[in-house]
């Protein structure tokens, strides 16, 4: 009996395959890949682009706590600039963004160049510098909040050691609190920049550097004239990644200063959250969200475009 069953199964099989091209199975085979990606495609369409569209529409309405659909035009985009809160947020973002990107890049490059000198224990050091990137911003923010809290952190430790004149209370100072966010963010991201730059430095052919030595170039000239121009694409990638991280910064601020003291450290993302869930101004929340999206897009789209184009050429 089993032999019979096998034989008939095989017959059925071949029969199917023979008719397969025209039948349902052939259709399935041709469209299987499309079917598999369809749910995630649909989800992306609805939840990303659908809600982007929805947010744009809301930003054009006079919604308060709940969405309403009476269009008021671009009024919100004008009025939002009258809010001192938004002004603070934009100023902070600008200050934070410039410092965060500048310092992360500088520190990351410095670490990479130092690690590139073939030092001992490079593997361990590399991991240590890279680890912060693996931690969520909430954890980074909380840890730095404790470290910077004058009552329990660095200041207290210094006082306990006997240096009673030591004062470090930036986190409670409305003028300085934004710099504590820069500090924590740089601590988190510079290891990542280091890893990217180090990989790129390692990609530069050893013989090119030897040739430059023989050509009489100093170490500074080798970096300036040969290595850095060679690895420029990596700087661009790192820059774009840092930039969009900066614009989207939210959780770090919430965990570290909760946008305080007062509203001193608010950034567009915290502004948006505040407007949507605390101040019942969905219209301003949507407006700020659209403006952030537009800023990120203004950076990423040209970058992706140039990447795709160079990919095609390559």
């Amino acid at each position: 009996m089993p032999a019979d069953a096998v034989a008939s199964a095989r017959a059925a099989d071949t029969g199917d395959a023979g008719a397969g091209d025209a039948g349902a199975r052939g259709w399935l085979q041709r469209h299987l890949s499309k079917l598999v990606v369809a749910p995630s495609f649909a989800a992306a369409l609805i939840f990303f682009y659908g809600f982007i569209l929805w947010t744009v529409i809301i930003s054009l309405t006079g919604s308060r706590m709940l969405p309403s659909y009476e269009i008021v035009g671009f009024e919100n985009y004008v009025n939002i600039w009258r809010l001192s809160r938004w002004e603070t947020a934009v100023e902070n973002l600008f200050l934070f963004g410039v410092l965060f990107m500048g310092l992360s890049m500088a520190l990351g490059c410095l670490l990479a160049v130092l690690l590139d000198q073939r030092i001992r224990a490079e593997g361990a050091l590399r991991t240590i510098y890279l680890y912060p990137m693996a931690i969520s911003y909430i954890v980074t923010g909380t840890a730095w909040k404790w470290l910077l809290d004058p009552g329990i952190g660095l200041e207290k430790a210094m006082h306990d050691l006997g240096w009673t004149g030591f004062a470090f209370n930036w986190i409670n100072d409305p003028d300085m609190a934004i710099y504590t966010i820069v500090l924590a963010a740089v601590w988190q991201a510079s290891g990542f920049v280091m890893a990217m730059v180090l990989a790129a430095l390692r990609g530069v052919d050893d013989e090119i550097i030897k040739a430059a030595w023989l050509d009489g170039a100093s170490l500074a000239n080798i970096y300036r004239r040969i290595i850095i121009p060679t690895i420029r694409p990596v700087f661009l990638s790192a820059f774009v990644i840092l930039m969009h991280l900066a614009i989207k910064t939210f959780d770090l601020v919430m965990a570290l200063t909760a946008a305080g003291p007062g509203t001193a450290t608010s950034v567009p993302a915290t502004f948006m959250y505040d407007m949507a869930f605390q101040r019942d101004r969905l219209d301003f929340a949507a407006t700020s969200a659209v403006m952030m999206l537009a800023t990120v897009a203004a950076i990423i789209v040209p970058y992706l475009y140039s990447e795709i184009r160079s990919g095609k050429r390559g």
């Binding site: 040739a211 030595w213 050509d215 004239r225």
Partner: protein, 373 residues
């Protein structure tokens, strides 16, 4: 035209001893080829001469001055790398100019030198391209241009032709030779291609495992190899090695080995051209070395002119036609030997043919030390 001396130089990476005491003395204008298999330390030695690698022990002397502690840029050496090592972000012109610029050569002088060098190497039309837009041969020329333009005391070449196709390689080989003829600069050139070594060198250093096995002019390396390794490494096909015994022969000495011929197995004795050298080896085992072109088909006219040509019969195992000659494999003394035979005088495999050995080109080696006797 610099005089380069390497005195007992050693190099270790931790416990691995890469160079085990290298000594060279190279007069100005010589073309030294470092020849050896992969991993024998050729690049390491070159890097040490250039100053790109530290020296574990020993001295490198250029024109009478010990340069161990001299920075590479102050040694006045230019190097062409195997990967060409062109600066990818610069145009050909900038690549060539970079060394001049770093040395503070004024711009108009730079332009003049670039024009001269690029004309010499026929790369004038490529000056505004980036290295990625060049072919392998063009990159090779640019790399040479970068070295030439500085007019250094010594040129170092690290396998500059190994990335080129066979035809281009032959062309570039000739050009490098011409260039050396014209410039007369001292050159150290690394390769593992022994034809390149033979054609270019005025001196060959055959290296193995971090030591120099022989340092001599190419013809000497070819004809009187210092040991079996050199004999086997230089020449294509390599030297034949026949286990043999030194015996009395007439009023001199000869080498005796077994050889199958005419359906039987017999002994062949070939008289030595220089019996005095082998006097101590009488009745002892030796390795008898003979280049394939010294083992040819028998030719009465030639045999009568050449004093040391001797004929014997031998069974042919395999034939490999190459066009100019047919490589004929025979068994001598239990090991395979190759004869270069005129294609019109071959026999079929299995048949016996009459061969002629030119004993004036024979070498004898000590079987235990493998050194030349």
């Amino acid at each position: 035209m610099a005089h380069l001396e390497v005195r007992n130089v050693r190099k270790s990476f931790g416990d691995t001893h890469v160079l085990k005491g290298i000594s060279l003395d190279l007069a100005g204008g010589e073309f030294l080829v470092l020849l050896g298999p992969s991993g024998c330390g050729k690049s390491t030695l070159l890097n040490m001469i250039a100053g790109l690698d530290s020296i574990t022990d020993g001295e490198i002397v250029i024109d009478g001055r010990v340069v161990n502690a001299v920075h590479p840029k102050n040694r006045d050496i230019a190097m062409v790398f195997q990967s060409y090592a062109l600066y990818p972000n610069m145009t050909v012109k900038k690549n060539i100019a970079f060394g001049l610029e770093m040395r503070g050569v004024p711009a108009d002088e730079r332009a003049r030198l670039i024009a001269k060098t690029s004309a010499l190497l026929q790369i004038d039309h490529l000056l505004d391209r980036k290295p990625a837009q060049l072919s392998g041969g063009q990159r090779q020329r640019v790399a040479m241009g970068r070295a030439l333009v500085r007019d250094p005391k010594i040129f170092l070449f690290d396998e500059p032709l190994s990335n080129l196709d066979a035809k281009l390689r032959v062309d570039m080989r000739t050009e490098i030779k011409k260039l050396h003829g014209r410039l007369g600069t001292t050159i150290v050139y690394v390769t593992h291609d022994q034809i390149e070594a033979m054609t270019l060198a005025t001196q060959i250093a055959v290296m193995r495992g971090g030591v120099i096995e022989q340092l001599a002019p190419p013809q000497d390396v070819y004809e009187t190899p210092a040991n079996m390794y050199v004999g086997g490494f230089v020449g294509s096909p390599p030297m034949n090695f026949v286990p043999a015994t030194v015996v009395d022969q007439g009023n001199g000495l000869g080498v005796r080995f077994r050889c199958a011929a005419n359906g039987g197995d017999g002994d062949v004795v070939l008289p030595l051209a220089d019996p005095a050298a082998a006097a101590q080896w009488k009745d002892r085992e030796v390795v008898f070395g003979l280049r394939p072109e010294a083992l040819t088909d028998y030719n009465e006219a030639e045999a009568s002119i050449r004093e040391h040509a001797h004929a014997f019969d031998c069974r042919v195992d395999v034939l490999e036609p190459t066009g100019a000659d047919t490589l004929t494999y025979v068994e001598l003394g239990g090991s395979t030997a190759i004869a270069r035979v005129n294609p019109r005088r071959t026999t079929r495999p299995g048949d016996t043919m009459r061969l002629m050995a030119d004993m004036s080109h024979a070498s004898l080696f000590d079987p235990s030390t493998e050194r030349r006797i």
